[in-house]
Amino acid sequence: MAGGSDLKVLGVWTSPFVIRVRIVLNLKGLAYEYIEEDLGNKSELLLGSNPVNKSVPVLLHGGRPINESQVIIQYIDEVWAGSGPSILPSDPYERAVARFWAAYVDEKVGSAWTGMLFRCKNEEERAAAVARAGEALDTLEGALVECGKGKPFFGGDGVGFVDVVLGGYLGWFAAIDRIIGRKLIDPARTPLLAAWAERFRAADAAKGVVPDDVDKVLAFLQTLLAIGSMKK
């Protein structure tokens, strides 16, 4: 197996941004050391590796840091182009489309995600964020058709860039489903996306990486909220 002691990931087990990187490493068949970070007490290694953003994930390759999840994924795809499937399409136009939707996911789903869990001061604000997430998911239903062209994933036959970017949020979505008392990815509203979510979670590369214990995730949410409120 390639990688090994050469590769380290600094992360937090629930972070959608960390999860997507780990899935890509799995897809590429790369071994790596995973280091769980305490966001309330960030390690020297993290702060030294990502002084600008001080955030996870960080990929360390031969000791050199690469930061920002979408940048990390493209780096992995390029360095290990020979191993495993390509994460980004090879055609330049399709790459541009994949990058567009990946950016859209983090802009719209990402901001709604922080709104639903971390930034809402009351249930009204949470509901507004849930509504925004719903709109973004409606749009992504269409994107799945555009990118996947009837195939199981945004990437086509196999998991690709947009899949891992969106898929990283699924652990949290299950927790949000519990909080709001209904499915965020509603099979009646976005049937293709709902089917896609099941498929994604069942993928080998996602197993053990996308959290599936909702109680654990919800308990961890409290820890994160406490850290967040201490920061100010």
């Binding site: 002084p51 600008v52 953003n53 390759h61 050199r64 690469i66 930061n67 920002e68 979408q70 940048v71 990390i72 493209q74 780096y75 390029e78 360095v79 330049p92 136009y93 790459r95 541009a96 990058r99 567009f100 950016a103 859209y104 749009t139």
Partner: protein, 225 residues
């Protein structure tokens, strides 16, 4: 709806947009001819709305009628679709660094700059924006540029063209924030001058005074003092 797709390259853009200018510089650097289509952002064209239905924003690059949106995506597309790829660094690690900083610029610089001129002078929020702007520029200077000639190293490249359009906005930021970019970031200032000697940059960037006038007009429209 037109049955035939227009061949070649078209850029839907707005004259003063630093994001659009990145694309123009990239096209010039690659020696690619294209049709420039100035957009009226107050009355968006059917072509723009059809080409970028999600965001309805410029710039949009049309290649044989197919739209590419988002400036960083457009620039990378231009580099990859028209081989050889010469804008982004050839080494994957250097590429990752360039993409990281491009993402940093996009997340920080424009929004902070907008707050700087939109917020009322003297208010704490505006003072905060001023402080942040200086921090952002210093971070770019120390973290990204360092002692190099260009962000990308010895030669002008992707990260340089990503940042350079914002240099036309420095005068506006300076006047609103009452600080001097040259004083705070002498290396960024020297880098900006170096880039300005490049034809693709010189021909593309808006004169700083024009940007200042434009912002003044925007402020009047928004009713900001």
């Amino acid at each position: 709806m037109a049955g035939e797709k227009k061949q070649g390259l078209q850029l839907l853009d707005f004259w003063v947009s630093p994001f659009g200018q990145r694309c123009r510089i990239a096209l010039a650097e690659k020696g690619l001819p294209y049709e420039y289509l100035e957009q009226d952002l107050g009355n968006k064209s059917e072509l723009l709305l059809r080409s970028n239905p999600i965001h309805k924003k410029i710039p949009v690059l049309l290649h044989d009628g197919r739209p590419v949106c988002e400036s960083l995506i457009i620039v990378q597309y231009i580099d990859e679709a028209f081989a050889p790829a010469s804008l982004l660094p050839s080494d994957p690690y250097a590429r990752a660094q360039a993409r990281f900083w491009a993402d940093y610029v996009d997340k920080k610089l424009y929004d902070c700059g907008t707050r700087l001129w939109k917020l009322k002078a003297g208010e704490p929020a505006q003072a905060q924006a001023r402080k942040e702007m200086i921090e952002i520029l210093k971070t770019l200077e120390e973290g990204a540029l360092g002692d190099k000639e260009f962000f990308d190293g010895d030669a002008f490249g992707f990260l340089d063209l990503v940042v350079v359009p914002f240099t036309s906005w420095f005068l506006t930021y300076e006047r609103h924030g009452e600080f001097s970019v040259e004083k705070e970031c002498p290396r960024i200032t020297a880098w900006a001058k170096r880039c300005g000697e490049r034809e693709s940059v010189a021909k593309t960037l808006s004169p700083p005074e024009k940007v200042y006038e434009f912002v003044g007009a925007m402020k009047k429209r928004f009713g900001i003092e």
